[in-house]
């Protein structure tokens, strides 16, 4: 049923797309129809696969680093009032900055290769991971803390046996958000300066008025993001709910 409705929605979207192309009669370098994009995608499947692979590596490494950094930061913040006072305002302030404005700087610092894109993905997911896990750590049901107190638990043991497990569902929702943001981060990085990856391919196709290839790359990115989100969803299912 779920798959059926997804299929129906896809067909509906394709139909609207085709209708717009047919009704407006726009030239194909402005708006190519779905049939043409599909054809282009098939003809360039190896090219697209190659660039998808590059982007995927950036995203996965970025997700791993971003999650680790976010988890460590959240634990530090939850553990120390000083860290909360000193670091939290800074974290919030960085969120007010447009991250993509940093992309050229990252390229300058880290070069054209993989790491400037990884850094971009990390930057963009670091905050959602940190803040969701931190919130979870600070919202431990007070009854558990009371119980632990009467048991003479050390703060460390409370963190490890109660606060962290109780915060895992929050961390899971942060990671699910991150799965959506990380590809955006990597593509922004590629956009600013690179010679590989889906972002690069989109920019290149656009520059050469190969709008059909640009669409094919963009749709591939969309499908990649959805698949990634589904994988992370499944991977975090135990953390998120089954234990409740």
């Amino acid at each position: 049923m779920k798959y059926l409705s997804a299929l129906a929605a896809t067909i509906f979207a394709l139909a609207i797309w085709q209708a717009i192309v047919s009704l407006t009669g726009l030239p194909k370098f402005i708006l190519p129809g779905p049939a043409l994009v599909a054809e282009t995608w098939w003809q360039n499947r190896w090219l697209i696969a190659e660039h998808t692979w590059i982007t995927a590596i950036e995203v996965v490494i970025g997700l791993a680093f971003g999650t680790i950094l976010g988890v460590i930061t959240a634990l530090q913040l939850a553990n120390s009032r000083a860290a909360r006072v000193l670091v939290q305002p800074m974290l919030v302030f960085t969120q007010a900055l447009p991250v993509f404005a940093l992309a050229p700087l990252l390229t300058l610092w880290l070069g054209y290769g993989l790491w400037s894109k990884v850094a971009m993905a990390v930057l963009i997911i670091y905050f959602p991971i940190t803040s969701s896990f931190f919130d979870g750590l600070m919202r431990t049901p007070s009854g558990y803390l009371d119980l632990a107190r009467t048991m003479q638990a050390s703060p460390r043991a409370v963190l490890w046996h109660i606060r962290i497990p109780a915060a895992l569902p929050s961390l899971a929702s942060g990671m699910r958000l991150a799965a959506v943001y990380a590809p955006i981060g990597a593509v922004i990085g590629e956009w600013v300066g690179s010679s590989q990856g889906l972002g690069y391919l989109m920019l290149l196709a656009n520059g050469r008025a190969k709008t059909d290839l640009m669409f094919a790359a963009m749709l591939t990115l969309g499908v990649f993001s959805i698949v990634l989100h589904m994988i992370i969803r499944r991977a975090t299912a135990r953390m998120a709910g089954e234990m409740r």
Binding site: D146, R149, M151, V158
Partner: protein, 242 residues
């Protein structure tokens, strides 16, 4: 377990400058069940949490001491209406939580004996969400017993259970906690009449003692004197004691 001491709570409490309870003295007899009965909002939970050394919204002036002069808070076990079972941990892990939180090795043989005593042996590896309300409270009781503390503080632990399960739990708890200094906070006159070896009614006007029935606790639910006491307690509650 050290021998159970008398426990004396002497003092007054206020919340944001308003009196919660005027100066009072509550004595919990050594090795006895004391039932503190009162309507909601009179400050029963506050008294219990003060003894346990937990945060309350109230400012307490006075003292809480044990007859043997030893510190109180590290000798209490605490059980509330909410069973406070960790949903991600199994029954067995929940029962031995205290040891894990103190970084000690849990006495597994003792844990298994307690689990058996609470008739939970088939549920050892289950998560709390797979248990009924009564079973969950039995796990909480096993966890409380596992702590093996001379002072046990019970904050309406049975009030969310259905009548039959509640009566079963009362019997089980009365038997299992024998010999400890127990404070049972409750709003249920029937519960106080069944379990109290000493019964105190708490209202806005203060504490009023009430003679418990003569039969040893836990008393039968249809014991006449127990029913009479239940009635008398309810009348005191309604009239605001005084």
């Amino acid at each position: 377990m050290t021998p159970a001491p008398d426990l004396i709570v002497k003092g007054k409490a206020s919340i944001d400058g308003a009196t919660l309870f005027a100066p009072l003295t509550l004595t919990l007899g050594a090795g006895q069940w004391t039932c503190l009965l009162g309507g909601s909002g009179v400050g029963k939970t506050t008294v219990l949490r003060l003894i346990a050394g937990l945060n309350t919204g109230a400012v307490f002036t006075g003292e809480i001491m044990a007859s043997d002069g030893q510190p109180v808070t590290e000798r209490v076990a605490y059980m509330a209406q909410d069973d406070l079972l960790l949903p991600w941990a199994t029954v067995a892990q929940n029962v031995s939580l205290g040891a894990r939180l103190r970084g000690e090795k849990p006495d597994l043989a003792r844990r298994d004996r307690l689990i058996e005593r609470m008739r939970l042996q088939e549920h050892l590896g289950k998560k709390p969400s797979e248990l009924s309300g009564g079973q969950r409270q039995r796990v909480a009781l096993a966890r409380t017993l596992m702590e093996d503390r001379p002072i046990v503080l019970l904050d309406e632990p049975f009030s969310a259970l259905d009548a039959r399960t509640r009566a079963d739990m009362q019997d089980l708890a009365a038997e299992a906690l024998q010999g400890r200094t127990v404070l049972l906070v409750t709003h249920d006159p029937g519960e106080a009449a069944r379990l109290g070896q000493s019964i105190t009614v708490m209202t806005q006007h203060g504490l009023t003692p009430c003679n418990p029935p003569h039969a040893p606790a836990p008393r039968h639910v249809d014991d006449l004197e127990t029913l009479a006491t239940q009635g008398a307690l309810l009348r005191m509650l309604r009239e605001g004691a005084a």
